[in-house]
């Protein structure tokens, strides 16, 4: 089986002089092509840490990460991935259009094609009106939209989103959901972390629950909803697992 994303007993450690924290402990995870994977967990479980180490922003203490069957530091692999950070901290004094032009330049897109793509992305996330305003004047949700547009600029085969719906209004949320469903139809693989269970229930094929750096459970959404009967929601399931898992 060809996996798009493969984590093998990954460990990530934060350490400095007087601080030592094993943020991720023996995480093994395999994601196949065309799957929408929801990565759940309470605050401080290590979701962001995992995502950062997938991109090699944080070096793994042990274990290995493979993307499209290759190590994650290859540029050819990176060019096929999209990343939406948890906290979007872009240049305040640039407009979203200039920012996206810069990112398009990184991927070697021609100017005309890039402009077309950027217009399309702005209409997709619903930001045409603010495309030429400095980002200094933006709210958190608007920044979030810019960063979603940024993650889609190179038509990624593997899209990694870190809490894509935090700080968005209901309209934008349903838009994000539609975008994810659309990408899934095109055969892209999506890996996103979230703690908005209602969102996850609507878009994901499979979920993994992370608690204190350990992957507690992975399961198909349809299985969860079936095995628990009709009075069991994903929220109950999640709470059950987290409260039972005392470590």
């Amino acid at each position: 089986m060809n996996y798009v994303l493969e984590l093998n007993s990954l460990c990530v450690v934060y350490k400095s002089n007087n601080y030592f924290k094993k943020a991720i402990d023996q995480l093994t995870l395999k994601i196949v092509r065309g799957e929408v994977f929801g990565f759940l967990g309470p605050n401080g479980a290590g979701k962001t840490t995992t995502i950062k180490s997938i991109f090699n922003f944080l070096p793994a203490a042990s274990g290995q990460i493979k993307i499209f069957g290759e190590p994650s530091c290859n540029y050819s692999v990176r060019a096929r991935m999209g990343y939406m950070p948890e906290i979007a901290n872009y240049y305040w004094y640039l407009t979203p259009r200039e920012l996206l032009r810069m990112y398009a330049g990184f991927f070697g897109m021609k100017k005309h094609a890039a402009d077309k793509k950027i217009d399309y992305l702005f209409s997709l996330v619903g930001m045409q009106a603010e495309a030429n305003v400095w980002m200094k004047n933006f709210s958190k949700g608007m920044m979030q939209k810019v960063s979603l547009a940024q993650s889609l600029i190179n038509d990624p085969d593997l899209l990694i989103l870190d809490e894509p719906t935090s700080g968005l209004d209901p309209v934008a949320r349903s838009k994000v959901r539609d975008i994810i469903k659309d990408l899934k139809k095109q055969g892209k693989t999506i890996f996103f972390s979230s703690h908005e269970l209602s969102e996850v229930e609507l878009v994901c094929d499979r979920i993994g629950i992370l608690n204190k750096g350990t992957l507690v459970k992975t399961d198909k959404i349809t299985d969860i909803l079936q095995q628990k009967g009709n009075n069991m929601s994903l929220e109950r399931y999640f709470l059950d697992i987290i409260t039972r898992d005392k470590r």
């Binding site: 240049y91 305040w92 004094y93 640039l94 200039e98 920012l99 810069m102 330049g105 990184f106 070697g108 400095w134």
Partner: protein, 60 residues
């Protein structure tokens, strides 16, 4: 290389729009003009030295 130029271009844009740099430039100008006109303990030969360096346009 192209990527470095792209980042540099956008950083410069950011710096000029931010207008923080202007404060620095104006402060520098003020400080320079003050230093250029300073009388160091009233010693004439220091004036001459500065004049030779073309730092005191007012003196001859």
């Amino acid at each position: 290389m192209k990527i470095i130029f792209l980042i540099a271009l956008n950083l410069l844009r950011e710096i000029f729009r931010k207008k923080d740099l202007y404060v620095l430039i104006i402060m520098l100008l003020v400080l320079m003009s003050y230093l250029a006109n300073a009388a160091f303990f009233g010693m004439k030969h220091i004036y001459r030295y500065l004049n030779e360096l073309r730092l005191c346009p007012g003196l001859n």
